[in-house]
Symmetry: C2
Subunit: 175 residues, 2 copies
């Protein structure tokens, strides 16, 4: 059965003898809680977005590519890859699949013969035009309970968080 993404709210559950209180300082606890809550929120919102694009026969990664190409124009595969956060193998695979669906085409790059552009076909463009407004509205609907100022505040905080996390090396890397 599909995962029903629901918040856990049994603060009433009594403690089991084999349970252990987490023992960390205030700062660490804050990070830990934010991590858990962010995962839950992301998962719950993603479920809606994924259901929406699935009605059009797409995965979120596929739609992400279409949307990126629509809003930025043709891009090198490597650019698309960084933008939608998939692996190098993944971008080849996804563009292959979108090409098979007739939504995307590869174009050669004159200045670098290793590189390929991905670009929307006519049909791909039509599909984005059709899907994007409802996709965006669906997200707006899901977040409609959160005041705009809060959304913007969260966006700024998460932007800083993502940036910091992305450029931070893992502790092992500096040996």
């Amino acid at each position: 059965m599909a995962t029903i993404t629901q918040p856990i709210s049994d603060r009433s559950a009594q403690r089991h003898p084999e349970a252990h209180e987490p023992d960390v300082d205030e700062t660490t606890l804050s990070a830990l809680r934010l991590w858990v809550i962010m995962n839950r929120a992301q998962s719950a919102v993603t479920a809606h977005a994924a259901a929406h694009v699935a009605r059009h026969g797409l995965t979120l990664a596929e739609f992400g590519i279409l949307e990126a190409l629509y809003h930025r124009g043709p891009m090198l595969l490597g650019e698309v890859q960084k933008r939608i956060l998939v692996s190098s193998g993944g971008i080849t695979f996804l563009v292959d699949r979108l090409t098979a669906k007739g939504l995307v085409e590869r174009r050669t790059c004159d200045s670098d013969r290793r590189a390929r552009y991905a670009a929307l076909t006519e049909r791909g463009q039509q599909l984005v035009v059709e899907m994007f407004p409802t996709h965006a509205q669906e997200l707006a609907r899901v977040m409609s309970g959160i005041p705009i100022e809060d959304q913007k505040a969260a966006t700024e905080i998460l932007k800083a968080m993502g940036r910091a996390a992305a450029q931070m090396a893992s502790p092992e890397d500096d040996r």
Copy 2:
């Protein structure tokens, strides 16, 4: 090659003739931006957490189970499933694998013979004791650039967001 999760910062890129400005209202744009930024942040932070647990030969889902069992004591499989957000098949699969690794065991439930508890073995418990502090510290390190008040503010907003999204039906459901 692995995905390098990095923020995109080419506001300097000039607009391609085939590009299209997104045309949505302020409210929708806010939701859209939060959605994108949240995904990026989640992905970047997750990469660190996943790398950490991978050094101990675990996936994040596996570690999530161990952690939940450690902090709450033995739980029914269904409870664990809801808590770590995997499918029904997934929880069986993950508990199988953790059992094969000798970290978790299944226990019968006296009051309901359909149900099974998952519980940590001695070794599982040792592993959580060993891993949890560094896992938590790693998250704290990754988020160390974000002031605690911001972390807490983001946590509250995202908690409301997750709750709202989780209990919200998809537009198709009410037919």
